[in-house]
């Protein structure tokens, strides 16, 4: 188990990258504490799998170093980094039994027979696959196969980090939840550093203590699930997390205040004077209320999603979503939108540009 440090990491799939766009990963500096549960969240193609493969050593970075406990491992091959990786599609050795599959990484490292047996049985018990040990691995269901490939990662007690590359892709929805809580439980038991790559916000937010959100090869925010939800540092995080995502509305800034269609909108705090660029207001649908006063809008659709209603309103041409519990308006009705000031933020060039007032957060 180890602390992982990524230092000025850059990677390009081109031989001679010139513009920043040639880089799949743009300058990553990151510290991951020993024993933490982390998620790398981002849309497909944002570079998260590339980053994962660089940490595991399957890919060499174009620039930068990777340190495990301050020891440079950038040039070490995967088998000498003591890492484990679980892939999107379960990788199992078809011709071997479940037992042999689990024992394989240990036997390759010449671990003594009785220790192998002890470890394999321990892991099998943790994963609840003891009754399958004698079965041929090829005949298992996808979720059990994925458990076995996780088990092969966990069986070594010297692993620095276990990495999961979208491991629940092929699992049936009703088993996803089960396997996810199993993972969380395993993390608490083995206390290894775990990194979980996914594009599914629910998976990331339920698994991780800290979520790293990536977009186009850059880290846009690192934080706890609550941070990401409450104070997105970038409009992308606002969009990507939440259902529906944060409303991002163009606005004008004059005399230290924000205006939408001429009306002043109260913000959470002061505007950062050092930032400039395209100005937008970000407000989560959860904090938009309907009332007698506020910004006028026309209700376009109302969706009943069970526990609440999602109201989609048009403010001029601009679409705004609101989540409300009761007093549901009808489509076509004129309403007034009110934004909860403590949750209303200003973004400049997509980056957060307001600071919360003392004691007014959330």
């Amino acid at each position: 188990m180890a602390k992982i440090t990524l230092s000025q990491l850059r990677h390009s799939y081109f031989d001679n990258p010139k513009t920043p766009d040639d880089y799949a990963l743009k300058e990553i500096d990151l510290d991951w504490d020993d024993g933490g549960a982390y998620a790398l969240l981002g849309p497909s193609g944002c570079g998260k799998s590339t980053l994962l493969n660089i940490i595991s050593g399957l890919r060499a970075p174009s620039e930068g170093r990777i340190l495990f406990d301050d020891q440079d491992v950038t040039d070490l091959p995967p088998d000498r980094r003591n890492i484990a990786q679980v892939f999107q599609f379960p990788v199992i050795y078809d011709t071997m039994s479940v037992y042999d599959n689990l024992a394989f990484p240990l036997r390759n490292r010449q671990v003594a027979g009785h220790l192998v047996d002890k470890r394999v049985r321990e892991i099998a018990q943790m994963l609840e696959v003891e009754d399958m040990l004698d079965h041929r691995a090829a005949g298992l269901s996808p979720d059990n196969k994925q458990k076995i490939s996780m088990g092969r990662g966990l069986v070594r007690d010297d692993v620095n980090v276990v990495m999961f590359d979208e491991p629940l892709t092929v699992i049936d929805p009703h088993l996803k939840w089960k396997l996810r809580s199993k993972l969380k439980e395993l993390h608490q038991r083995v206390r290894a550093t775990m990194i979980y790559v996914t594009h599914d916000q629910t998976e990331a937010l339920t698994f991780a203590d800290q979520v790293v959100v990536m977009q186009e090869g850059e880290i846009v925010q690192i934080g706890t699930p609550v941070d990401l939800f409450e104070r997105p540092a970038h409009t992308f995080v606002g969009h990507f997390i939440g259902s529906p995502g944060m409303n991002v509305l163009p606005c004008e800034v004059k005399a230290g205040g924000a205006f939408i269609e001429g009306q002043n909108v109260a913000l959470e705090g002061d505007i950062d004077r050092n930032k400039a660029g395209k100005t937008q207001i970000g407000i989560r649908p959860e904090y938009v209320a309907l009332g007698d006063q506020g910004l006028p809008a026309i209700v376009k659709k109302v969706a009943d999603v069970g526990r609440h209603y999602v109201v989609e309103a048009l403010m001029g041409e601009q679409k705004v979503s609101a989540i409300i519990k009761h007093d549901v308006p009808n489509p076509g009705e004129q309403v007034h939108l009110q934004f909860k000031p403590a949750q209303t933020r200003l973004y400049m060039d997509d980056w957060l540009a307001t600071t919360a007032r003392e004691g007014s957060a959330s």
Binding site: N53, S56, L58, P77, P78, D79, I83, A84, Q85, F87, Q88, F89, V91, Y93, D94, T95, M96, F104, P105, N108, R109, R136, G139, S149, R152, G153
Partner: protein, 287 residues
């Protein structure tokens, strides 16, 4: 409720007719010949199982059957491992892939009798490229029309040259279908190259290899044209394989009854061995 509908039979009928005309009826005429004696003029005499009994006791049949098994055994023992080895050393991606594939496919595109003729000329001791080189440059006495060992080596090499590509292409198809994650997982698990071959590549190639072994068995067991053109079964009878012997009996001696009996036994052996191969190679899948 289950609906009973007999109409389905109607749809099977065309296939049944087709199979009847191209397989069952011709086959039954062979069965018909195998139990009778004929001297032409549509005159037939009932012989019962005499031809079968004679054939199974015949030393000539035993000898050609033995040669047939030797030939097939040797080429399988060479072509399968060689094919896998070549497939594994071929590039998986990049500029050279199509080039390698075309080179590999070329020998298979040449007609059987052309292959026989090519190798015949190639090995002529005085003017053939290989024959001349062996005899006059390396000083090794080589003449496959005189020497039994030389004749055998030549037909084996010819078949390996002509058909290893089939094994290569099938194995290659099996290899490229292995997802990259398997190799990555093996790397992380610390597997040796041999372990990767034994536990990932070989199992993933198993299905295509089953097909390769079956095809190569059936084709080589029934081989006729290439050795016939190359050696004509000689020197002596040393390369007279089953099919060559069968044609000699049927068309050379015009013994239609014994030839028909031999065809049926020949067919039965091919079927039996194919079934054995298939059952043995797929028995693990059932579990």
């Amino acid at each position: 409720m289950k609906t009973e509908n007999q109409k389905a039979w109607f749809f099977v009928l065309p296939v049944l007719l087709l199979v009847a005309f191209n397989a069952l009826i011709p086959m039954m005429t062979v069965v018909n010949y195998s139990v009778q004696e004929t001297f032409g003029d549509n005159m037939f005499f009932w012989e019962g199982l005499t031809w079968f009994e004679n054939l199974l006791r015949s030393e000539r049949f035993h000898a050609s059957l033995g040669r047939q098994f030797l030939f097939t055994g040797l080429i399988l023992a060479i072509e399968i491992p060689l094919g896998i080895a070549i497939a594994m050393s071929m590039p998986r991606k990049g500029f050279w892939v199509p080039f390698c594939l075309v080179i590999m496919a070329l020998p298979m595109l040449i007609p059987w009798n052309v292959v026989g003729a090519m190798w015949n000329i190639f090995t002529l001791p005085d003017i053939g490229l290989m024959g001349y080189f062996l005899n006059h440059v390396l000083g090794i006495s080589y003449d496959m029309t005189q020497n039994v060992f030389a004749a055998w080596v030549t037909i084996i090499i010819m078949d390996v040259w002509h058909w290893t590509s089939l094994v290569v292409l099938l194995s290659y198809a099996g290899l490229v279908s292995i997802p990259e994650a398997y190799y990555q997982a093996a790397k992380i698990d610390g597997a040796s190259n041999f372990a990767v071959f034994r536990f990932i590549q070989l199992p993933k190639m198993k299905n295509v290899l089953t097909i390769a072994v079956l095809l190569r068995f059936i084709d080589s067991f029934n081989i006729y044209t290439e050795p016939f053109v190359l050696t004509g079964g000689g020197p002596g009878n040393s390369t007279t394989l089953l099919s060559i012997d069968l044609v000699k009996i049927a068309l050379g001696q015009f013994d239609l009854g014994p030839a028909a009996a031999m065809s049926l036994i020949y067919f039965a052996i091919t079927l039996l061995v194919s079934w054995l191969f298939y059952t043995l190679m797929t028995k693990d899948d059932a579990r």
